[in-house]
Structure formats: structure tokens, C-alpha cells
């Protein structure tokens, strides 16, 4: 929608927005400090937002650092994406009972429609949701759980003002400004202890909710300041991933010795797949009660780093760490393009930050291209 519809809110206006969503039956989820990170949880007040904190990230390192101004969204991204709320880590699929006649009765679990609003969705996270839409909804067999959650989620994006050193959304074309896929998009304007939010409407639903509350038209100064926020953020994102011809490049390098080098560092822990906002793989698990007459099927997140993931009759197909890391990286950056017509990476940098040994996919790809430029990547360790 055109930015001519943009309005602005103060902090009280943001509170009114949260209240308006609550009045329409939405549970609002937003950023807050929990366990030393900025996490997403239920939120009823702007007082819950992470005022006074920002994050510092590098390979294998994440720290909250105090900040003095009034920013409530003055951080990059926390370890969680919104994946857990849309594509839950554990969800029931069906229950099967053995009847008295020895037959089987199958009941599918109908996913429950939950009205949930996500406040503070980063542009890279919007892109990640669009990628999961493609995989889980736009194939021949849409996923009912994801579809139900997705249909009832109200997305309030917040443009990035403070990217981390691990961010590379500009390489992936996903940020730092939200372009589409949101109901409302905010840009936080910080002036000392004061904040205002420039609001852009992205959907009819967004317009309906915004009409519930009092807003002011955006002044030209505010519009210019909002542009400045994302331009400044873009200029601070220095990490690069060269995506030019990356699919063929990785396909041509499936036997590159660099994979052995990564395998010496990779712990095969799967943190990257948990933190990644697009990783969608799941496992089906059957759990039978003690009577032996009732079996529940659960769908749980899985990771291509586990040995069981590739299990065939004679054992795991990908038994080496090298082969599992290669599967993850080549899928994310190359074969995803063949499977779903786009890259599987949004450049959020979580896999770099949350890797316990700081493996950095942008470096691994650059090494394989022979174009690694260590001096341009701040905060990088031993690679």
C-alpha cells in the first residue's frame, strides 16, 4: 500500500494498538528480555518491551548491552524467530485406536485457530515467514497446522535500526526495510528518551485495526527520519554473501576439501537448524499408551544434523559430519532454489551467532569461492 496512508503514533498510541488487538481477541506477542536474551512472549503493555537494551552478536557470541535512549526495538534479532508460533516444535497429527473388533479408528487433530499478533517482526523474519509459506502452504499438500496458525496471525513488522555484525539481509534482499507481507509496519524514531512510530499499512486487516485507534498524519520530517533509520541500518550492514550464481557454484563444489575443514569444527549439534527461521524439517513420532490400544502421532522439529535424519534400512545415509553440514548449507543456499524457486536463507545471521564454535556460512561460501575477505568482517574469530 502507498506510504501516503502512513500515520504516526507515540508510545501511548502503541499501547492503544496493543489494546485494540486485545479487544479483537488477539494475544499479542512481542520482544522482551528473558534469560539474558531478547525473546518473544505474550505482552500486554509497552512496559514489557526491552527498553534500555541492545544486542551485540558475532560468531558464537550474543550479549545484551545497556543503551541509554528510549528505543524499545533497538536490537537486531534474538535467538527465536516466529517459527515456533507458526510451525510449532511439537504438534499432534492424529490419534489411532484399536477397536474391540481389532480394527483401527483414526482421528485427525483439527488445528485450533488461535488469534495471535506478532509485534516486532523484522523484515528478514517476514521474508522467512514467506519462505515457510512457500514450503508448507504452496506445495501440493498444504500443512494444516501451519496454515491455521498463519491464517490467524496478525503481523506487525518493525523496520531494523540497529543491525548486528552477523546480519547480511542486504545480500539476501530481505531487509532492513519491510516491503511486503505485513499487516502493519512500524519504524521507530528515537529522539533521546522519546520515541514515535511511523506506521505503514500493508493489508485491509491492518487498516481495520489501525482505524480502531487515534493516530496523527505523518509529518514530512517524520517520513524523512523513518527513511533515515533504514538507510542508516543498511549502511551499517557490512557482512556480505555473494549470491551470484551460488547454486551452480555450490553444486560444482560438492567435493570441495573445505567441507572437511568445516567438519573438523562442526559439532553437529543442530543449533543452526533450531535458530534458523526457515528450517522446516520435521520428524513423525508415534507414541503408544501403556494399554497398547491408543497411538498418538506427533510431528516434531527435526534437524539434518542428526544421524537418524537420513536413516535407511542399513543405517544413516549421511554418517559423516561433513555430509550433514554440506546437506544443510547446500540445501539452504542452493537446492532450495531448485525445490522452491528461491533461496532458503534470509540473512538474519542466527546460524552464525548461535553456532557454539562460530561457524560462519558467509565465510565458508567465500572460502569455497576463493574470495574470502577477512578484514571486512568485524568481530570474526579464528576462521
Amino acid at each position: 500500500m502507498a506510504t501516503s496512508t502512513a500515520v504516526s503514533l507515540g508510545l501511548d498510541g502503541l499501547q492503544n494498538l496493543i489494546n485494540a488487538l486485545g479487544g479483537r481477541g488477539y494475544e499479542v506477542f512481542g520482544p522482551q528480555v528473558q534469560n539474558g536474551v531478547i525473546a518473544h512472549d505474550r505482552l500486554t503493555s509497552v512496559a514489557d518491551l526491552p527498553l534500555g537494551w541492545t544486542d551485540e552478536q558475532q560468531g558464537g557470541r550474543y550479549r545484551l548491552v545497556p543503551r541509554e535512549d528510549g528505543a524499545r526495538f533497538g536490537y537486531a534479532v534474538g535467538p527465536q524467530s516466529w517459527k515456533e508460533l507458526l510451525h510449532p516444535s511439537r504438534s499432534p497429527v492424529w490419534t489411532m485406536r484399536r477397536t474391540e473388533t481389532g480394527d483401527l479408528d483414526v482421528r485427525m487433530h483439527e488445528p485450533e485457530p488461535l488469534l495471535r499478533a506478532f509485534l516486532g517482526v523484522r523484515p528478514c523474519e517476514l521474508a522467512a515467514i514467506a519462505k515457510q509459506d512457500r514450503v508448507l502452504l504452496e506445495g501440493p499438500h498444504p500443512d494444516p497446522v501451519y496454515g491455521t496458525n498463519r491464517d490467524h496471525a496478525f503481523l506487525i513488522a518493525v523496520n531494523c535500526g540497529d543491525p548486528a555484525s552477523t546480519c547480511f539481509c542486504t545480500s539476501m534482499g530481505t531487509g532492513p526495510e519491510a516491503k511486503s507481507g505485513f499487516d502493519l509496519a512500524l519504524t521507530e524514531l528515537v529522539d533521546g528518551a522519546d520515541v514515535r512510530y511511523v506506521v505503514e499499512v500493508g493489508s485491509d486487516r491492518g487498516a481495520d485495526v489501525l482505524a480502531d485507534i487515534a493516530t496523527s498524519p505523518t509529518s514530512p520530517t517524520e517520513q524523512q527520519a523513518a527513511r533515515g533509520v533504514v538507510e542508516n541500518a543498511a549502511s551499517r550492514i557490512v557482512r556480505k554473501l555473494d549470491t551470484n550464481g551460488i547454486k551452480d557454484h555450490l553444486y560444482d563444489n560438492l567435493e570441495n576439501p573445505r567441507w572437511d575443514d568445516v567438519a573438523e569444527r562442526c559439532l553437529s549439534c543442530g543449533n543452526c537448524t533450531l535458530a534458523c527461521p526457515t528450517c522446516f524439517c520435521t520428524n513423525l513420532e508415534d507414541v503408544t499408551d501403556l494399554s497398547g490400544d491408543i497411538t498418538d502421532r506427533w510431528r516434531v522439529w527435526d534437524s539434518c544434523f542428526s544421524l537418524e535424519f537420513s536413516h535407511l534400512g542399513d543405517g544413516p545415509h549421511r554418517s559423516s559430519t561433513k555430509s550433514r553440514y554440506r546437506q544443510w548449507l547446500v540445501h539452504k543456499l542452493a537446492s532450495w532454489i531448485d525445490q522452491f524457486d528461491e533461496s532458503g536463507c534470509v540473512g538474519c545471521g542466527r546460524c552464525i551467532t548461535w553456532c557454539p564454535v562460530g561457524i560462519d556460512l558467509t565465510i565458508e561460501v567465500a572460502e569455497m569461492r576463493g574470495t574470502v575477505q577477512r578484514e571486512r568482517i568485524p568481530g570474526h574469530g579464528t576462521n
Partner: protein
């Protein structure tokens, strides 16, 4: 447009009330259970309710044993068999063990069938050679019957089948019947026994050798199903003999779970085997299939 949500007064992103039917397991009754080998059984099954689903040779179903789990098994009965579907299962782990122990009258669950079958209709070559290794003959069984029905389309129609030992040759009755119907059947075993007078060696030893199959390889389509390593060397040997890569078709097995291209398990490079396979063209898959552990 989707109706307005009664609670929020807002229009949902999309209207998507339909569940994905291929996630729902369907109970099938076992009407016959045939011991093929020491550890290999064929279950003949029919739906407890409703019709037998249509299938194409090489398509795979997720066959479920109550309380244990599901395994991907291809349908091995001919298309012309309207009374049941057959699944040939080797005991390899707890799920396949449980499946092979379901008695006649018992119930298994079926999801599917999934995937792409053999492209028999589109073959334009004079000859068709079908190559199976071990249990890989099972997904070929329905195809062979179909190819024999269309025998006149081909100058040469042959089956090369390799097993580890003579007592591990599956479907001996079918092999005899197929020979009588005009299929050139060539058998080989890795290791013979006192009674075995046939060929000893790999399937590749029967391709283009004086003792083996002599066809015009430059005008031949080949369908291959067997262990990965067998398909790897067979494809290389056939390419060497002059079969273009795009006339070689493999059927691939990877860990298959959802069958709906949602769970990510059955990947091989760009392929999601449940969606894009199990039958794939070697010109597309070769560069990935040749890489170990991909």
C-alpha cells in the same frame, strides 16, 4: 474471499479449511501373507472401507504398523490385479519386522501412493532393458507386467536381475512366467551354490559382454532399481556402452516420512524424492547421485 473471523472481525489471510488428505492413514486389511524369502514377505491388502487407490508402477506408500510406525514400501502387484495391492517387505528394523508379522485378517495403515512412476508411455527407443538388484525387483514387478503387455513396442525387451545368492532370488514364479511371455530374463548371483548353473557376478557383467545381453545400446532405454552402489556402477557402465544419460532412469530411496514434501527428509540435492521421485532421470540426478553421502 474467506469469511470474516467472527471473533476478531478480520478477514483471515486465506481460507484453508481442508486438511491434507495424504497425511491421513487409511486402514487396510491383510488378506494374504506370502513368505517370499527367509526374511521377506508379501502382504496382500485391501482397504477396510472404500476402493483400492489407483497407482503407477514404482509409486511408494507409507505402510504403517499400529503402535510402531511407518515405512516406505512400493506397490509390487501388477496394475491388472484389481482385487488387492501387494507390498513386498524385508525385515530390516522394528517397523518392517512388525509389518511382516501382521497376520492374515490383521490391519495395517496406508498413506499414498506417492511420487512419480516409470515413464513407460514416453519411451521412444527400440529397446527396453530393465535392471533390478536384490529387493529392487519389487518396484519393477508391476512395470514388467505392463511392458510385457506392450511387448510389440520393442525389438528387445530384457530383464537383468542380480541377487546375492540363488536362495535370495525373489518372484521365481514370475520370472518363469515372464520368460514364457517373451521377456529375455538374465539372472546373476554374487555367490553361487552347488545347484546354481547360471551366471556368477555383478549385473554389470551381463551388460555388453559376450556372455551377456547384446542389444543396440544406442537405441535403448534402461530402468534401474537396486541398492545405490549397484545403480551407480550400472549407470556408469551403461553410459560407457553408449546409452545416453537421459535414457537411464533410476528409482531412488531416501528416508521418507511425510510423503507430502513437507518434512524435508527425502532430499537428494534438488530432489524431494516423495514429490520428484522415486523415479528420476539420470541426466538430472547423476551429478548428485555420484556424490557419496549427499
Amino acid at each position: 474471499m474467506a469469511p470474516t473471523d467472527s471473533k476478531s472481525g478480520l478477514v483471515p489471510v486465506r481460507d484453508r479449511s481442508e486438511l491434507s488428505p495424504l497425511l491421513v492413514p487409511r486402514p487396510f486389511r491383510v488378506i494374504d501373507r506370502i513368505q517370499e524369502l527367509d526374511d521377506t514377505f508379501s502382504l496382500h491388502v485391501v482397504p477396510v472401507e472404500g476402493e483400492l487407490p489407483a497407482f503407477r508402477p514404482a509409486q511408494v506408500s507409507m505402510l504403517g504398523a499400529f503402535g510402531v510406525g511407518e515405512a516406505a514400501i512400493s506397490i509390487s502387484s501388477p496394475l491388472s490385479t484389481r482385487s488387492h495391492h501387494a507390498y513386498t517387505i524385508r525385515r530390516a528394523g522394528p517397523i518392517t519386522r512388525a509389518l511382516t508379522e501382521v497376520p492374515i485378517g490383521g490391519v495395517v495403515t496406508v498413506r499414498g501412493p506417492f511420487g512419480e512412476g516409470w515413464p513407460l508411455d514416453t519411451i521412444a527407443t527400440k529397446n527396453l532393458v530393465i535392471i533390478g538388484g536384490g529387493l529392487g525387483i519389487a518396484p519393477l514387478r508391476a512395470l514388467i507386467d505392463l511392458a510385457i503387455e506392450e511387448r510389440s513396442r520393442f525389438d528387445d525387451l530384457a530383464l537383468v536381475y542380480g541377487a546375492k545368492r540363488p536362495d535370495l532370488i525373489l518372484y521365481q514364479g514370475d520370472l518363469d512366467r515372464w520368460s514364457e511371455l517373451g521377456l529375455d530374463v538374465r539372472l546373476t548371483v554374487d555367490q553361487g551354490d552347488d545347484a546354481w548353473a547360471g551366471s556368477v557376478g555383478l549385473v554389470t557383467d551381463l551388460l555388453g559382454t559376450p556372455a551377456g545381453l547384446g542389444v543396440d545400446w544406442t537405441d535403448t532405454t534402461v530402468f534401474i532399481c537396486g541398492p545405490d552402489v549397484m545403480m551407480h556402477f550400472t549407470a556408469l557402465a551403461l553410459h560407457e556402452l553408449g546409452v545416453p544419460e537421459n535414457r537411464l532412469w533410476l528409482t531412488l530411496e531416501r528416508n521418507m516420512q511425510c510423503g507430502n514434501a513437507l518434512c524435508g527428509h527425502c532430499q537428494l540435492g534438488p530432489f524431494l524424492i516423495c514429490r520428484d521421485g522415486p523415479v528420476v532421470n539420470y541426466a538430472d540426478v547423476g551429478r548428485f547421485h555420484r556424490v557419496r553421502e549427499l
